[in-house]
Symmetry: C2
């Protein structure tokens, strides 16, 4: 067990007092950083970067060299699991992720294996260990995975989609088959995340990028139910510390009370909701993570500060808030603006934690 | 004043009793219909179709020939206003709408004219008159426009956008300039919609496609405030009948109570919300329109019926519901499935209006 020099992030997730509000950014190791682009160029392509533990560690640490972030997040991709299931993940420039063998039939789904984290996703486990060693207790390391529904959409559509035509048709017309797929994915995500925890991940985030595209009832049946199942099977304490779990459904506003009852420690919020209102709604049960519009980072540092202050004021005094963007930081952002954002969170939040 | 043979739609919008729940589909005159594709091929391109009142009338009526729909909607595009302002709208195959002269500077915004409906958008007024004549009182005709915020995003970005980078940077850093643009758009939309009403539109829908991309506070400031202003300046009675107004913000779940207080008669819902819950929340003030996931139309007719029944049951007995999809019908839908949907609404809803 390493000594943790900065445990603000873990404390906030457990709604324990902190000196200032901890902050990290989804996709903080990413294309907006010139040093990331340089490492990626050395790696050849995106998956080459993910599969090389030394380079994955290098880009994970890059944003921490620039900014006083309160957490690191494993550099990887949510689609490593379907890739390990044999779907053949590749990335086409400007096209997003693609699968050589999308899942379409009952036979396809029945044939899918549950990947073994050590044997089939060893490069991720190795990356986690390498990053933990290099972090040397500076800040906690977040491990992550995609939600079963989100993974299923990519696996069925064969890539990104605007309306999830095939995935939804399967859910509507052959729900038992969709449930079989989601069940396999929930098992796979659980063992994968537990593998990350045993390798050294100190908190977990589940990214439900496309849950918000489901109908009101469909979300509970096809997305939330499987995230709940994962949460209930995760290792919740390791190295003598709790391992908090964050659930983040983009466009999840209609289901926040249900997400708060999932058993997760924290709920990620996008920027369409008022964090103060959500705190009144569910803040007695979970910590909240969010929720600045990433596009604010295109504005001036003064405007960024004003937006940070507005969110801090809305949340109000006391613990339970991890500051973040409401989605990933985008490639065109000026790194100086990301710096202004992080500085503003630490500087302006101190008074909300005084006494 | 024409006799209206089917006024279910108008009655439901005013929360008056009806025999069955009225139904129409956003984008009901569209690419999923082979007869639409044939007319569009004759017109040359999409804008050629919009600008030819006879052909616009022809495609408006096509879905009514196939299905017992309870309303017609003017065939046009939300971007006719920016086009009339001089931005040079064009469509690139598979790329969506584009503007030759996007709005970028203060000078660009200050120079924008308020289009005159008769002089600058006469082809739309002519289409409305032609359609009304050809409808001959069969069902009411819906006129429409985009919300100022939605129009502004296209005008500033020069077309579709994933993150509204330029539009949001303008709103964040030069809010007074964004407000000048939105003010001009609100004036333009108001005179345009009033022109449509005088030409014969019997109900109005304002499409706020991108309001849901704003932050919680940003939505009120940059989108809802301008829709409210439009609603308060619309002609609300014409030809001896009320002209109801529907506001539809895609991904608008976080703001439904505020939208219900806008002065509109009805609120459009996407499929992420439970219509019965929303009825309890705001159904005492407004009618509700929606809210089936358009992707359900990719499923079997039996599944479509089940989904229609679930929404009807959730809404419950009594008036105030206009059935619709939660967004436009998509090009790949089988027209037979759209027929099964409409039939199911009429057939299954009768018992919710008995007595």
């Amino acid at each position: 067990m390493t000594e943790l020099k900065n445990d603000r992030f873990l404390r906030a997730l457990q709604r324990q007092p902190v000196d200032v509000t901890p902050v990290w950014m989804m996709r903080q190791a990413g294309r907006y950083l010139p040093e990331y682009r340089a490492t990626r160029a050395r790696a050849g392509d995106f998956m080459g970067l993910c599969m090389n533990p030394e380079l994955a560690c290098e880009v994970t640490l890059q944003p921490l060299e620039r900014y006083p972030l309160d957490a690191a997040i494993l550099f990887s991709d949510i689609l490593t699991i379907p890739d390990a299931m044999g779907l053949g993940l590749y990335f086409e420039e400007g096209e997003g992720p693609r699968f050589r063998k999308p899942v379409r039939t009952a036979a396809d789904i029945e044939a899918l294996p549950i990947p073994d984290p050590e044997k089939d996703l060893g490069y991720v486990m190795e990356a986690v260990k390498t990053i933990r060693r290099e972090l040397n207790g500076r800040v906690p390391l977040i491990g992550f995975a995609g939600s079963p529904w989100t993974l299923a959409t990519y696996m069925i559509e064969g890539g990104s989609s605007k309306d999830f035509r095939r995935a939804k048709a399967l859910a509507f017309d052959q729900p038992e088959l969709m449930h079989l797929l989601l069940d396999k994915l929930a098992q796979s995500v659980t063992t994968y995340l537990n593998g990350q925890i045993l390798a050294g991940a100190q908190a977990i985030q589940i990214f439900d990028t496309w849950g918000g595209a489901l109908s009101h009832d469909g979300y509970r049946e096809f997305s939330l139910a499987y995230m709940q199942r994962i949460v209930s099977s995760l290792i919740r304490e390791h190295e003598g510390r709790p391992v908090p779990v964050i659930l983040f459904t983009k466009n999840g506003a209609p289901w926040l009370p249900e997400i708060a009852d999932s058993g997760a420690d924290a709920v990620g919020l996008d920027w369409t909701v008022d964090i103060g209102t959500v705190r009144k709604q569910i803040g007695d049960r979970v910590a909240l993570q969010g929720n600045m519009d990433p596009s604010v980072l295109y504005a001036s540092p003064a405007r960024i500060r004003a937006e940070v202050e507005a969110i801090l004021a809305s949340y109000g005094s006391g613990p339970g808030h991890v500051f973040n963007l409401g989605h990933g930081i985008t490639p065109q952002v000026d790194p100086a603006n990301a710096g202004a954002f992080i500085e503003a969170v630490h500087e302006l939040s101190a008074r909300y934690h005084a006494g």
